[in-house]
Amino acid sequence: MLIQLTRGAGQRPSSLLYQRWAIILAAIAGCPSAAAGTSDFDASMFSFSAFGTFGMVHSSDDQADFTAGIFSPNGAGHTHAWSSDVDSRIGAQATADITSRLSAMLQIISQQNYDNTYTPHVEWANIKYQLTPEVSVRVGRTVLPSFLFSDTREIGYSNPWVRPPIEAYSLVPIDHSDGLDASYRVHYRGLTNTLMTAFGNEKSGTPAGLPNEARRLLVIADTVEYGAATLHIAYQQTYVSVDALDGLFEAFRQFGPQGVALADLYNVHDRLVRFMGIGAMYQPGQWFLLGELGSTDFHSVLGKSTAWYVTGGYRLAKFTPYVTYSAVKADSNRSDPGLSLTALPPSLVGPATGLNAALNSILGSIPVQNTTSLGLRWDFVRHLDLKLQYDYTRLGAGSPGTLANLQPGFVPGSTVNLFSATIDFVW
């Protein structure tokens, strides 16, 4: 077994709802005549696909973990010398073309969850209606097209790298929307323009300290394709809450006007988060070049960050060597003097010092780092590829970068060597 499946308490709270969704989808898909009022049933309306990655990662820094993202509990470095949790996953999808205009899709992925289980979750579950050849609407769960590869970041086979550059792709912790979206696609003289907008919510049920609720999510994205060139622009805004931090800012509010001011500035309770991204890709055949730039403003203690990357590759028959440079910087303060201790009665100096330390530890974790990557993709058999990638990461002064599980011996601002090997498949 490449992927260990465990059952446990790791289900997202919303997964029950989605099991119900799945049943409804299956029911609709199973009785097309009832749903569509036609009798053109044939088995070919269903299609099944699957994808997966098995990967191993080694990090040179054993005092911290390189993880798949902020929702991962551990990874390579401290917890495991070689971790298979960072990149390994398996996904399955069923699509039903109920009529020529109405279709439904359900995609389930098993990968490392925040609680270290591999309980599958619903990645996509929606019903799509094609109003006209140009306009379609979807209801249900979709993955947001924030960056060029955001909605396919799990499909290793379709991506040039082992994984999308973490500096940029970690800027958008909210990646799903449960709601509505509409897409308008026109093709004119070889130019294809796709404008999409989505509106919804996300409740992820993640553990302490992570964004666990995003409400009133709004996304507008436009993609222009012309021959080998693609241009993608996205704007995204939502109201994010990290319930686990409410207690900290409640405590600040007990310290009079200066505490209230700090709590108002830094709290993460229904705070407007804005993301803006732009990316371009050119792949005429033998070689490709792509780059993206994105910025997220959390309007809170989570800060404001800007990241960018450039990747280039050259295809030599079944081998595609590639190189990437990516960087993320903080556009907001990474420390704060916090509560002034001088005016406080001696009994409150201790608690205030503790609160200041907590505030600064969160501000200090806003990532600053850059990475140079060298990789090789080998399409060794049809539908399978093998990728090897070396990442050299320089952490910003005093920054842990995107590393997690920092140990007492961890040195901020150091450098990290990362070795990754993955096998991707699609079916």
Binding site: S49, F51, T95, Q107, P133, T152, L316, V426
Partner: protein, 143 residues
């Protein structure tokens, strides 16, 4: 036999760094002889087969027909007319399928099947070996 050829091709490609031109191009794009379509550019053909448009330039619906994955004529078609390797085409459709944006063209098993499909459907467009061309089809594009 076929895989031996492919290995040979791969080695040639690697040695010369000219994987593209080492593919012997004897694939042609075809429509029904009854089709009113007269010309199509390479990029228009690529857009139809990569799902970027569902229409011919005159606005009439286009129904692309693919040959099976692994078929030599298919690999050649995509390299010659879209500049993409079989893996790149697969990666492209993986992106489309797993985001629910569409599905790849219908597939038939050989050039004879292609001709049959095309004969009954004037909206169909496909590709066959040059040697498989007969009076039922019209060659739109050749390498």
């Amino acid at each position: 036999m076929r895989s031996n050829n492919r290995v040979a091709l791969t080695i040639t490609g690697l040695a010369l760094g000219l994987a593209m031109s080492s593919v012997r191009a004897d694939v042609v794009a075809v429509v029904s002889s009854k089709s009113s379509l007269i010309t199509l550019s390479k990029s228009q053909l690529a857009d139809i087969f990569l799902g970027k448009t569902q229409q011919f330039p005159d606005g009439s619906p286009a129904v692309p027909i693919d040959q099976e994955e692994g078929a030599r004529v298919r690999d050649e078609f995509y390299v010659v007319f879209t500049g993409q390797s079989p893996a790149q085409v697969k990666a492209h459709w993986s992106k489309v399928i797993f985001t629910g944006r569409g599905k790849p063209p219908r597939t038939v098993s050989n050039s004879e099947e292609v001709r049959k499909m095309i004969t009954v459907n004037p909206q169909a467009i496909s590709y066959i070996e040059r040697s498989a061309v007969d009076s039922t089809v019209k060659v739109l594009l050749q390498p």
